[in-house]
């Protein structure tokens, strides 16, 4: 009797988890935690705090996975509306930090509303397409594009290019999986390339500088070029097998800026070398592969586009971060999933994984 109860409890706990996703995520978290330790143990150790963040993330993931996708849909409109209203408030009354208006002060603490929209925008668009599934016309894509453009523009204006890219990409992936015609996609890409010179004039000085330093890091060795020079030295000197855990000289002589957050990949790469990098890339590929499988097998339009958007967002995080740290993309504030220190990003990503699990494990119920 008691054993039966235990059995049922165990079943209840793991019922809505996806084994492969969970395993890959735990593997990434293990690597991440050891790297955060290495990056911070000699000054202000953050490993314990990060472990706590991870625990919170796992709980959030489990909780979200229990919601069937239809129920998740209910959050779409409120989350989006609250997010956009908060962004407008930031625009009007935000706290200026380092020249960017990203925070809203609540007196006792500060919040960054743009974080809400990393999931709020794809949820909203997925809900919108799901609602109009039977009659999808070009104008629906136009409306969806507009729904995406408003928060994107507000975040880009703050300015927070990293988050704007993540929100924009997540929304675009929904459009893509909802069947945005290829002609439009190609047309957009062509227009984008054509408009590049105009965009260039609209960028902030510091953003322009970051793109310029990408072409020639030595042009600004004190400013943004410094980050790239130091991180490429760290990666390059890591070689095939790395200098060993806790033994990265560039890391521990404090040459790498933001070494436990956005630039943690440089620390990992210096200490683990090409071999470690390859393992990490394979882990991300497995995560994305599993995500795409879930996407392909999802049973409703909402589930499909949501799963697709989350999966490709994970890819965007990983690619943009590793790309900027290794010097092939401009420096923008994008964390490396499950590796970078920081609770907010970790929880957002874990909720994303939770939604993927929910989509995967509630599939059968929907078919019945």
């Amino acid at each position: 009797m008691f054993q039966q109860f235990l059995q049922r409890l165990r079943l209840r706990l793991v019922e809505h988890l996806d084994g492969p996703l969970l395993l890959i995520m735990l593997a990434l978290m293990t690597v991440g935690l050891s790297t955060v330790y290495s990056a911070t143990y000699d000054a202000n150790n953050r490993a314990l705090a990060q472990a706590l963040n991870m625990a919170v993330g796992l709980c959030a993931m489990w909780a979200v996975a229990q919601f069937p996708p239809q129920k998740l849909m209910r959050f779409a409109v409120p989350l989006y509306v609250v997010g956009v209203v908060l962004l407008v408030l930031v625009f009007l009354f935000g706290v200026k930090v380092n020249g960017a208006r990203r925070w809203l002060s609540l007196g006792f603490t500060r919040i960054q509303p743009s974080e809400l929209l990393k999931l709020g925008v794809p949820l909203m668009l997925a809900w919108y397409f799901h609602k109009h599934e039977a009659v999808l016309k070009l104008r629906h894509y136009l409306v969806a594009g507009l729904l995406l453009l408003v928060p994107f523009a507000l975040i880009a204006k703050q300015p927070d290019l990293g988050t704007a890219i993540l929100v924009g990409a997540a929304g675009f992936y929904v459009l893509f999986f909802a069947g945005l015609p290829w002609q439009v996609i190609i047309g957009l890409a062509a227009t984008g390339a054509g408009a590049a010179p105009f965009v260039w004039t609209m960028l902030h000085d510091y953003q322009r500088k970051r793109i310029l330093t990408l072409i020639d890091p030595t042009s600004d060795p004190l400013g943004s070029g410094y980050h790239i020079i130091q991180s490429t030295i760290a990666i390059g000197s890591g070689g095939s097998f790395g200098k060993g855990w806790l033994a990265g000289t560039q890391t521990h002589l404090e040459f790498i800026p933001e070494r436990h957050t956005d630039f943690i990949f440089a620390v990992f790469s210096e200490e683990r070398g090409l071999l470690g990098n390859s393992v990490l890339v394979v882990l991300y590929l497995l995560l994305i592969g599993r995500g795409l499988m879930i996407t392909a097998n999802a049973s409703t339009l909402f589930a499909r586009v949501m799963a697709g958007s989350i999966t490709l967002s994970l890819f965007t995080y990983a690619f943009v971060n590793m790309g900027m740290v290794s010097g092939i993309l401009p420096v923008v504030g994008v964390p490396l999933p499950f590796m970078s220190y920081g609770g907010t990003a970790l929880v957002t990503l874990s909720i994303g994984i939770g939604i993927l699990m929910s989509i995967q494990t509630h599939r059968m119920l929907v078919r019945q």
């Binding site: 490429t232 000197s237 890339v281 392909a296």
Partner: protein, 631 residues
């Protein structure tokens, strides 16, 4: 969407299209990651040797160049805080294997005292990695030379030229200027919250109290950077470029150091506070809190015995009494009460009461100081001779709410907003205050009897000397109220541009001019024929004042004889005044802790300050203390 027309095949074709998109996405991901791996291969295999060389042999390091801290001068240009350069002997613990052996070795070349070791240990505990920490400061030329000759023996130890803060006047005005000391964890949090972390790389001192603290970000300046190549041992090989630091902004105070020094001396050994304000601007001319301390002690980290001496002294020299001491105002409250009576229409100047020497209320007798009473007392006489009965009755007639409303406008019981952190609020008694202050319901109730003693500045009344000085200045200035401030202007170190701390009125109190004149006339009377007359005998200007005595210890109706009461229980002496009476240039509040009668110990200090400020006269010896008419 033509597929919609054949419902059976439509979902499958739709799904096929969708899966094609998923597959395309997968291909794109693979291509992108392949690109990344190619980049890693290029960096870590092809260019590995190049980057290893750069990492091992030459490291580019950004060395912060700490800016010169801004200088603080008084209104006459006398320097109150400045910097000087001196050599320090510093150890980088991360480059030293055996710290104790190294320090032992050093002590054979240069004198290292046990207190230096102690301080070094403490710094070591708080330090960041790779920071170099001073083991000895202020090396002599000879010591520098001796170390240079033996340098090869001590890897990881070097002589550095550092800037030190110095307060040339020592203990004078130390409560106003404050001091800087080493940055601790809490300071670091404040720096991070203000997004100044980058600017404080390399800075190890920060303003802890006074002006040094309040204007920290003005005084600090902008940190410069030097880009240097260093070898594996951490030694600089060559400089690549340099961004010069920008010196901090200089501050010019409203303070007059000569006046300050004179006022501090006037207190002698006594504990107390004095705040002198220019009524027309709110500029603080002197801010005294005695005893004072030498701020220079704090700069390098205060020595334990010095700290114990300051911290454990019963005289509490570190307490800024002018801003943080809250005292009952005693009879100095009466002019404000009288003004309240005129403004609220509860009294006219000519209306007289008959004073039998006491006032009965609710079965309790409130006594006047003068046995048998002052006879017939009008408003003028009530102030000049400090009649208590007049104010017992007035308080009873006005009621506590009306009193509190008027006194709140004058700034009583609120922070004045002076440019020093941590000012106390004091206590403006009211039924609401009592509700907030006490937890038990029976203690929260306001009793009508409690209003009576509020009228003579006793009871729950407790105000800081700066509030009292501000209120005096407002009366002197006919109701125009300014925020008291110490900094007159800030000089931008880059442009030389001066930013005035504009004396903008905080509020203008709509008092009837003839009401204010009644009060001023009575306060002039105090200094000519009343309780302050002795202290101001023969003054070459017309001054207005009011004496006060604040009870520390309730004698429960028994006669007060100072000689019979222990010194710590003796009453506090107070005096408020302004001069010249027709065109006030200075208003002040003086408090002498346990000084007895205000007329006796506080008023003579005010006289000396006025004589100096208005006539440039320095006092001849200490003022005589003898019996005068008490207040």
């Amino acid at each position: 969407m033509r597929a919609r027309q054949s419902p059976l095949t439509a979902p499958d074709r739709e799904l096929d299209r969708f899966r094609f998109r998923v597959a395309s996405a997968g291909v794109a991901v693979l291509v992108a990651f392949a690109l990344l791996v190619a980049r890693f291969f290029h960096l870590q295999i092809v260019q590995h040797a190049y980057y290893t060389t750069r990492a091992e042999d030459n490291r580019i390091s950004l060395v912060p160049i700490v800016p010169n801290r801004g200088v603080i001068v008084d209104s006459k240009g006398v320097v109150l805080a400045r910097n000087y350069s001196a050599f320090t002997l510093e150890i980088t613990p991360s480059k030293v294997d055996d710290l104790d052996a190294t320090i032992d070795g050093l002590s054979r070349v240069i004198e290292v005292l046990p207190k230096d070791r102690k301080r070094f240990r403490r710094l070591l505990e708080e330090s960041k990695t790779f920071e170099s920490l001073p083991i000895r400061s202020r090396l002599t030329e000879e010591e520098v030379a001796r170390f240079a000759a033996n340098r090869y023996l001590f890897p990881g130890v070097e002589v550095k030229a550092r800037l030190f803060r110095q307060y040339p006047l020592g203990p004078i005005a130390s409560h106003a200027i404050g001091y800087i000391s080493r940055i601790n964890k809490r300071d670091m949090e404040i720096i991070e919250e203000s997004d100044q972390a980058a600017n404080y790389k390399g800075t190890d001192h920060i303003g802890k109290t006074g002006i040094e603290q309040k204007y920290e970000f003005q005084l600090h300046g902008e940190t410069g950077y030097e880009q240097v190549e260093i070898d594996a041992g951490g030694r600089a090989i060559r400089n690549l470029s340099r961004t010069a630091p920008v010196q901090g902004n200089n501050l010019t105070l409203t303070l007059d150091t000569k006046l300050q020094e004179m006022a501090e001396k006037a207190f002698g050994e006594r504990r107390g506070a004095l705040v002198a304000i220019e009524p027309s601007t709110g500029g603080i001319l002197a801010l005294v809190s005695t005893p004072t301390f030498d701020p220079n002690l704090f700069i390098d980290g205060i020595r334990t015995d010095d700290w114990d001496l300051l911290n454990n002294s019963p005289d509490k020299p570190l307490l800024n009494r002018a801003l943080n001491g809250a005292y009952p105002p005693g009879s100095t409250f009466k002019p404000f009460m009288a003004l309240a009576a005129l403004e609220t229409g509860k009294r006219t100047p000519g209306q007289a009461i008959s004073d039998p020497g006491f006032f009965n209320f609710g079965g309790h007798q409130f006594r006047d100081d003068k046995k048998g009473g002052h006879g017939s007392v009008d408003m003028y006489k009530s102030i000049v001779h400090s009649c208590d009965t007049y104010y017992y009755m007035l308080a009873n007639d006005m009621g506590i709410d009306s009193i509190a409303r008027f006194m709140r406008q004058l700034g009583f019981g609120q922070r004045t907003g002076v440019d020093i952190e941590g000012e106390s609020e004091g206590v403006l008694p009211s039924p609401e205050w009592k509700k907030r202050r006490f937890k038990r319901p029976e203690q929260q109730k306001w009793f009508a009897g409690e209003t009576i003693s509020i009228g003579i500045g006793q009871g729950y009344n407790a105000y800081t000397p700066i509030q009292l000085a501000q209120a005096t200045a407002v009366v002197a200035n006919n109701g125009i109220m300014f925020r008291p401030h110490l900094v007159k202007y800030i000089t931008d170190s880059r442009t030389g541009e001066k930013t005035m701390i504009e004396p903008e009125p905080l509020r203008i109190l709509p008092w009837k001019r003839q009401h204010v004149e009644v009060i001023k006339k009575a306060m002039i009377g105090v200094n000519t024929q009343g309780t302050g007359a002795r202290a101001f005998a023969g003054a070459a200007y017309v001054s207005a004042g009011k004496t006060g005595t604040a009870q520390v210890f309730s004698l429960k109706g028994a006669d007060y004889k100072s000689s019979r009461v222990k010194k710590e229980l003796r009453d506090h002496a107070l005096f408020i005044a302004f001069a010249p009476a027709d065109q006030p240039k200075i208003a002040l509040a003086v408090l002498v802790e346990n000084g007895g009668f205000g007329a006796q110990s506080a008023a003579p200090i005010a006289r000396m300050v006025f004589d100096y400020y208005l006539l440039g006269k320095l006092p001849k010896g200490a003022a005589a203390e003898d019996d005068v008419e008490d207040d």
